[in-house]
């Protein structure tokens, strides 16, 4: 407050003190200072800010002169706890003052439209930039896919070269047998099928025959280091590992193989190999039949069927083994059935195929020319969706985004379903 204001302030206070006595006497009813007081409804409407601007101006004029009404209005206002916005007007007053037409007029006022024009230009610029960047990103993505397509055969050839060296070292190790021969060993199935005394010898020979000299036998015994479910997961025919992609057997395994060779009776190798091939042919025949009946997606199911057949054979052969070891394996298998199956698949594949890619938070491994989601389970339903089809466009965008990153066949696990996109 400036000094001048202080002087006026003092004068106003003095003036108010002088007139206070007059107001007191007027309030006491001796000399009403004004006629036509506001009624209770008007006072309340003023106090609650429920008046139009014109009516409010009339009441303000009255209240400025009428001490009686002003005091009542003040009491009512304070009792009502009227909220006032920081911009200087109560919300009710602001609403009353601004009519709809006025607000429209203000909205389209030239001084505001000039900002709107700037805003529109800015929005257009942002939109154009967004579209341009998006196109560039799409071009980059397509370029990456093209590069990936070019790079994939190169990797495959490298693996084949590796296979060649591997097969030279182990000529009998049939790559198909190495994955197809280990039939899924479902412990429950093995338990449900009682061991047949007559088939015990056959089973033992079934084990012994492969162990003679072949890689199939080595595979069977190396399988024992894992759980039976792990082996079961390696069976699906849709994902045969590329030939010769298996890692070198560990020395411990070699030692066990030697022990087994010495312990097992000598059997002609061709017979065992023929037996193994019989199993494979049967499985392969079923697989081919399934392929003929249904699209290629059903290979998963046919692979499971093969696995079950082999499981039966294996369970028969295992019936000759000690009961305690089977039970122990059953327990361990039932504890982590699905997970270990996945791990078994992943482990087998990772051993066989180190090629791995990640896309959209999913990890994919290359199996038999197809990229397979490591989360895939044999129990999951498979949906085949061709690229560019209507169903493909209706798929979840994340699945489409993942599929767009692979040029060949890909199996994507999404919400408990397997989407096979050839």
């Amino acid at each position: 407050m400036t000094p001048n204001d202080a002087q006026i302030d003092v004068l106003l206070r003095r003036n108010s003190q002088k007139t206070e006595s007059r107001s007191a006497s007027e309030l006491a009813g001796l000399k009403p200072n004004i006629e036509g007081h506001l009624d209770a409804d008007e006072l309340n409407a003023f106090a609650e800010g429920a008046l139009s601007s014109a009516a409010r101006a009339r009441y303000v004029s009255h209240l400025a002169d009428c001490d009686h009404c002003r005091q009542l209005a003040t009491q009512l206002t304070l009792a009502a706890g009227r909220s006032v916005s920081a911009d200087g007007e109560s919300m009710a007053t602001a609403r009353a003052r601004i009519s709809f037409l006025e607000s429209l007029r203000n909205l389209f006022a030239p001084r505001k439209l000039r900002y709107t024009a700037f805003a529109l230009v800015a929005i257009a610029a942002v939109g154009i930039t967004f579209v341009a960047l998006r196109r560039r990103a799409e071009d980059r993505a397509s370029t990456l896919i093209a590069q990936n397509d070019e790079a994939a055969p190169a990797r495959g050839s490298a693996l084949k070269t590796d296979d060649g060296t591997h097969s030279q070292n182990q000529p009998i190790d049939n790559p198909q047998l190495s994955t197809a021969a280990p039939a899924p060993q479902n412990a429950n199935v093995a338990r449900q099928q009682p061991s047949q005394p007559g088939s015990a010898d056959k089973a033992s020979t079934a084990i012994a025959q492969p162990t003679a000299e072949s890689g199939v036998a080595r595979n069977v015994y190396s399988r024992e280091n894992k759980t039976e479910n792990e082996v079961a997961q390696a069976a699906p025919s849709y994902a045969p590992p590329p030939p010769g992609e298996r890692n070198e057997p560990v020395p411990m395994e070699e030692k066990r193989l030697k022990d087994l060779r010495t312990a097992a009776p000598e059997q002609p190798a061709p017979k065992s190999a023929a037996g193994a091939f019989k199993v494979m042919e049967r499985g392969g025949g079923a697989d081919e039949a399934a392929r003929r009946r249904q699209p290629e997606t059903d290979r998963v199911r046919s692979g499971v069927a093969i696995a079950k057949e082999k499981q039966e054979t294996e369970s028969r052969s295992r019936s000759s083994r000690p009961e305690s070891s089977t039970a122990r394996r059953d327990k361990s298998a039932s504890d982590s059935q699905d997970q270990s199956r996945n791990q078994g698949l992943a482990g087998t594949v990772s051993e066989a195929t180190p090629e791995e890619r990640k896309a959209g938070g999913h990890t994919f491994r290359k199996q038999g020319g197809a990229w397979v989601d490591v989360k895939l389970k044999s129990s999951m339903p498979v949906i085949t969706v061709a690229r560019g089809s209507e169903a493909f466009r209706e798929m979840d965008s994340s699945v489409r985004a993942i599929a767009s990153q692979f040029s060949g066949e890909v199996l994507i696990v999404h919400k408990g379903k397997v989407y096979r996109i050839p």
């Binding site: 003092v10 006072l43 001490d67 002003r70």
Partner: protein, 316 residues
């Protein structure tokens, strides 16, 4: 009936239907008892100040009415006993609280409360056989609770006036004493002038009278909003926040407005003194400064509550 009247009647009818639809408890009313009340409210609050009000203005006013409160009041008027029970049950505490605020003791508050309910129900009977209570004056523009507080306040003042007439001689004496007491702070101002020579005292008194007259005239020339703010702040001793609430503005706005008013008043006082009494600007400045200095010691407490300090204290 003119075309405009017919239009307004149609608007009222539509507004009554919307009001009943808005009400959570319409109490079985139809539009008939509402239309008369709405028409009166529109005439009072809209058409009186803006005869050319648009349909939008009328509809906005009607849609801002307190639907449930108005239905309750009209149901009470039509003799709905359950509505009366709801009214008493819901608002007896409000009436009692307002009566306590307006009364000096509990017994008076109780008497006032009973009087209010009697006034609301109506002690007389109208031509149509219904009681003519104060409920007929409720328009729904404000809340029913606020309206009841206003009714209590007005009735308390009426009762005070009646009692004052009965005890007028004694009250007059009290008011005279009060008047003398209120002038006591300025006794020092008079004593100050009493120490000077009679000529100077006369001159000072004349100057003070001129300033006082000019000040009163400057206040009258203020706009209604400004005048109300001055009255609220200086005469009613409200804080800036409270004065701003009465005016519907924020206290910061009230503070800025008060500073502007002081400058305006000073300019007006200087102009009046110059035009009517031939004072120069220097004389006006010196006189106002002398008045301020002389009053400084006597009204120190008043000066400490300047607008800014009030604003700061209220913000703190």
């Amino acid at each position: 009936m003119s075309q405009r009247e017919e239009q307004i009647d149609e608007l009222v009818l539509g507004a009554a239907g919307r009001l009943l639809a808005r009400a959570e408890n319409a109490r079985g009313l139809d539009t008939a008892p509402l239309t008369g009340r709405l028409r009166a409210a529109i005439e009072k609050y809209v058409l009186r100040d803006a005869p050319a009000a648009t349909d939008t203005d009328i509809n906005r006013f009607c849609d801002g009415l307190h639907a449930d409160d108005l239905c309750l009041v009209i149901a009470c008027e039509t003799g709905d006993q359950s509505a009366w029970n709801d009214l008493v049950e819901g608002y007896n505490a409000t009436v009692r609280s307002a009566a306590r605020s307006a009364s000096s003791n509990e017994s008076m508050a109780e008497d006032l409360t009973q009087s209010i309910w009697a006034e609301l129900h109506g002690l007389k009977v109208r031509n149509d056989g219904r009681p003519s209570g104060k409920l007929a004056f409720y328009s729904g523009a404000g809340s029913l609770g606020g309206w009841l507080r206003a009714v209590v306040g007005q009735l308390a003042i009426d009762q005070h006036r009646k009692q004052s007439r009965l005890l007028q001689p004694e009250e007059d004496a009290q008011i005279d004493r009060l008047s003398r007491n209120t002038h006591e702070p300025f006794a020092a101002f008079d004593a100050l002038h009493a120490t000077v020579s009679p000529e100077d005292a006369l001159a000072n008194n004349l100057a003070a009278s001129d300033v006082e007259t000019a000040l009163a005239r400057a206040l009258r020339e203020l706009g209604d909003e400004d005048r109300l703010l001055v009255k609220l702040y200086y005469f009613d001793d409200l804080r800036l926040r409270e004065a701003g609430a009465v005016l519907g503005v924020h206290e910061a706005t009230a503070s800025r407005r008060l500073t502007r008013i002081q400058a305006d008043v000073r300019a007006k006082v200087g102009r009046i003194l110059a035009e009517e009494h031939g004072w120069t600007e220097a004389e006006t400045t010196a006189c106002l400064a002398a008045v301020a200095v002389n009053l400084q010691g006597d009204i120190e407490p008043l000066l400490t509550s300047s607008p800014e300090s009030n604003l700061q204290s209220s913000q703190a």
